[in-house]
Amino acid sequence: MAFRVVHYLNQFYGGIGGEAEADAPFTVREGPVGPGRRLEQALGGDGRVVATLVCGDNAFHERRDETLAKITAAAREWAPDVLVAGPAFASGRYGLACAAVASRVGAELRIPALAGMHRDNPGAQPLDPPIYIVPTGETSVEMDAALEGMARLARRLRSGQRLGPARTEGYLPRGIRRNTGTGRPAAARAVDLLLGRLGGAAVETELPIEVRDRVAPPPPVADLAHATIALVTEAGVVPKGNPDGIEAARATRWARYSIEGMERLRPGDYESIHGGYDNAWVNQDANRVLPVDALRAMEHERLIGRLHPEYFVTCGSIGNPTEMRRMGREIAREIAAAGVTAVILPAT
C-alpha cells in the first residue's frame, strides 16, 4: 500500500503568487499541488501526496509558533507517514520555514521528515529535533533532480532500514557519527590518504572539521554623540537605473553612493533591484530601508556625531556566502579606513 506524504510549500510553489503574496495565511489543499505532482510521480506509486500545506513565507515567520501549531494540527488530520517540505533551493525564508515545519511535525507526529534546499540555505543549519535535508541546486531550474533526491530519501526513510552515511544516502551530514569497520587499520588508511593528497587526487577525509564562521563582537560604541555612523545594506537600493549593475540575485558586486548633504533619500531617485522581496514600498520611499532622514535629523540634533557621507549596497538575494563574505570584508576595509565608528545594516 502506498505510504502517505504531506507536503509543505510556500505561497509561490503553492500557486498563490510571488513576493507580493508572502503574507498569504496558512491553507490546506487536498492532494498534490505544483511540484507536489512531480514529487508524487517521483515516488512511483510507492507514496501518495495526500495533502499540501501552503503558507506565505512572511506569514510563517511573523507568527511562527502559532503557525507551526496550526500546521502540525492540520498535518495530523491527514495521518501522514512522511512529511516532505520544499524544495526551497536558495530561498532563505522558505528554507527556514521548511526546516521548522519538518522538525516540528516530525517530532510531534513521530514520523520521518525531510526538507530539500541548497546546502548554503540558512535553513540547512542543524536543528533540534533533527530532520533530513536533501541538498539541491540553487534554483528551481533543478527542480526535477531535487524532487528525485527527496523522493528517494522518503522511500528509504519509510523502508525502516538503518540509513547509511549522509553522502551515500543523499542528505546533508547531521553530525551523527557511527563507527564501522573497514577491514584495514587506521595507519594504513592514513598513509593512503596522504599519498593520495600528495599525488593530487581528490581524496576525502574521514573526519571533516567543521569551520564555524563566527565573528567576535567588537566592543560597544562608547560615545554616540561623537560617533560616525555608516549605512550598509543588502537590500539592493540603488540610484534609479542601477548605474553599477548590481545583480538582482547571487550578487558579486557592491557599490557606494553619496548621501552628502541630503536630508533624506528623495522619492523617485532610488529603486530596489533586489529580487527577493516585494519592492513596492521601498520604491515609494527608500528611507524605509535606508533611514537617511532619521539619521540626518539626529545628526542635526547632535545625538550622533556624523552620518557617514556614503552608503554601501549590495543585493543579498540568494547570496553566495563566499561572495558575501568577500564583499563584507571589502566594504569593512573601506569603512575602517574612513574612520567610521559603527554601522547600521538594514536587511530584507
Binding site: 527556514l96 560597544p220 521601498v282 524605509r288 532619521a294 559603527a342
Partner: protein, 63 residues
Amino acid sequence: MATRVGANRILRAGRFHHPFGDPNRTPEGEFLWRRQVVEAALRALTVPVEQPTTFEVAEYVMR
C-alpha cells in the same frame, strides 16, 4: 534569519520588505516611528554583547 547566520547585534524592526518603514502610518507618523527604531538601533550599538543578541525597539527608545 539574522540569528541563524550569527549577526552579533540584531534589532527587530519593521517588516522584511521595509525594515525602517511602516506604510500603515501617515508620512509624519512613519517618520516618528522610524526615528524610534533608529534610536533603538543606536542604543543597541552601545550595549556590550558576547554572542548574537536580539534587541527590541521598546526597550531602547532614548526619550
